[in-house]
Subunit: 164 residues, 2 copies
Amino acid sequence: MSSDKLPPLAWDTLPRPEDVDAVRAIVHSTGVFSAEEARVAGDLVQETLDGTEDYAFIFARTINKKLAGYACFGRIPLTEGSYDLYWIVVSASMHGNGLGSEIMKRTEQRVKNSGGAAIYAETSGRADYASSRKFYEHLGFTEAANLPDFYRKNDAKIIYVKKL
Amino acid sequence: MSSDKLPPLAWDTLPRPEDVDAVRAIVHSTGVFSAEEARVAGDLVQETLDGTEDYAFIFARTINKKLAGYACFGRIPLTEGSYDLYWIVVSASMHGNGLGSEIMKRTEQRVKNSGGAAIYAETSGRADYASSRKFYEHLGFTEAANLPDFYRKNDAKIIYVKKL
């Protein structure tokens, strides 16, 4: 799909119970993340449904209600205007059509509306996360820090930031 | 007090209900942290007492059961051996007697025993946090990252690390 072929989508900010598994499935579909990471991504939806946490979401759904992509974000505690983008994921079947940029644009708008000044994102420095880093750079993030051996030996944490 | 004058202390790893307020009081006593930060420090004790979170603690108590200092730490999710030192605080009345180093030594030992390889700590880059940064440096931490304007404009986040 080229970027002029974004299919018709329904946008939603409130999670539904079926999103817990749908999120795990699209995180898994990218081929980048571990089973634990996919589980955690679903947990953030579940915790928001439960009311134990209060993450913000943007869901893009196809006309037949399939999850095409989503973002999960929230203000970082003790900061005035810094937000963490915990997840931004596009289903593997939708890669390359500009959906990631559209989700990011809507995320930035909501963060700005809430007085946000910067969005942070963290990922791994490992070779097999190259597509994840490239995705953040494509979305306008720049590297703010590199913490060697953070996740485990030879697995750095890269902190990205996008100032709004 | 000089470093050879550490008073007799009782060491404890389990929080007691009275620690919620005692922690807020000693965080406040340092004169470095905001009221919100002191409240949050106490919340971490409360959440562990409630069982909603599972932070690790080291408490140093005087013979008359007053809280002299403490550390609050935990493994960072999705990491193999990285730990966050959320708080390490010595009551203002006990500053300069080596208690901070003793709390840190015991924290490192417990982190090592659990297979930890590094301890991270975060603080502000603001001028009025200079004593906090100096304290971390005194405890053997080195600066790993500096995120400008993180907490608010002209208030950077400094990430410290101590490799074990």
